[in-house]
């Protein structure tokens, strides 16, 4: 698993918070999300939103074929709401997943994404139908979250969300989905591992 958005305890120390993350403290004018995201259950304000770009790679079995799916620069908005964190898909727009913290929400989101692909593979009668259905799923936009995602990416650009320790990518990074037949002799042990990349989106 490749997880580039990795925070460490060093991020806490770098922010002069010896007691670790306990809430939406501000440091040098920035909200401290970096360590919160990956180390402890966070408690920033309700409504806090984190914009993500994700890249997932899956190998699946369909009826008579092995297929490789690479979804690049999908968009998701992670929001702390009244009960827990929710990862809302923007592209693909037709999915969401919750978790106790952003990391858990993303893990659930990743799993749900794979499950959708598996469900599609069980419903189609061939590769062409699978490819069309997956492309349609990925490219559907949840218009209800587009503006919030863009606003959160702008907050990254303005430095209102601390991205120390996190990789960022331009919010305009091109989105694509590639669905290809995979030769059986090209399948290897690496295909057993969920391959993913998660980046903060930053407005231009």
């Amino acid at each position: 698993m490749i997880l580039r958005a990795m925070a460490t305890d060093d991020a806490c120390r770098a922010n002069d918070q010896p007691d670790g993350p306990v809430g939406p403290r501000r440091y040098r004018g920035r909200e401290r999300y970096t360590a919160l995201v990956m180390t402890e259950i966070p408690s920033p304000a309700i409504g806090s939103a984190l914009p993500f770009l994700f890249t997932y790679r899956d190998t699946l079995f369909g009826p008579g074929f092995v297929v490789h799916v690479e979804a690049r620069n999908g968009r998701a908005l992670c929001v702390r709401e009244d009960d827990q964190w929710w990862m809302y898909g923007v592209n693909p727009g037709g999915m969401a997943a919750p978790g106790a913290d952003p990391h858990a929400a993303h893990a659930a989101f990743r799993k749900a994404f794979n499950h959708v692909l598996v469900d599609i593979s069980s419903e189609v009668d061939g590769f062409d139908a699978f490819k069309a259905a997956v492309e349609a799923f990925f490219n559907e936009t949840n218009e209800g979250y587009v503006a919030e995602w863009a606003a959160a990416a702008e907050a990254i650009r303005q430095g209102r969300i601390d991205t120390t320790g996190f990789a960022t990518a331009p919010a305009s990074s091109p989105r694509s989905i590639e669905v290809t037949i995979k030769a059986v002799d090209a399948v290897g042990a690496a295909d057993n591992t969920a391959d993913l990349e998660l980046l903060y989106a930053e407005a231009a």
Partner: protein
């Protein structure tokens, strides 16, 4: 505790707000399609499909935003 909505209440809301919608259970989730848009991850319920499970409201919020029926849906369910 996560806020929840009963599945039967979600179906009633969809019947009112998304007439003609289609829904079907897959191995992992309910798939709800309306006006060419599909919400693919509405839970079946804890431990698989159940008659009238509790569904976390975040899924409902995401679904009604995606299906573009928010205004109608919030007259039927508490979503905010």
């Amino acid at each position: 505790m996560p806020r929840v909505v009963r599945l039967k209440d979600i179906w009633a809301m969809l019947d009112a707000c998304a007439p003609g919608h289609q829904r079907r259970a897959t191995d992992h989730s309910w798939r709800v399609t309306f006006n060419g848009r599909t919400y693919a991850t509405l839970p079946l319920g804890p431990h698989g499909r159940r008659e009238n499970p509790e569904i976390e409201t975040g899924h409902v919020r995401a679904m009604v935003r995606h299906l573009q029926i928010w205004g109608c849906a919030e007259r039927h369910l508490t979503l905010a």
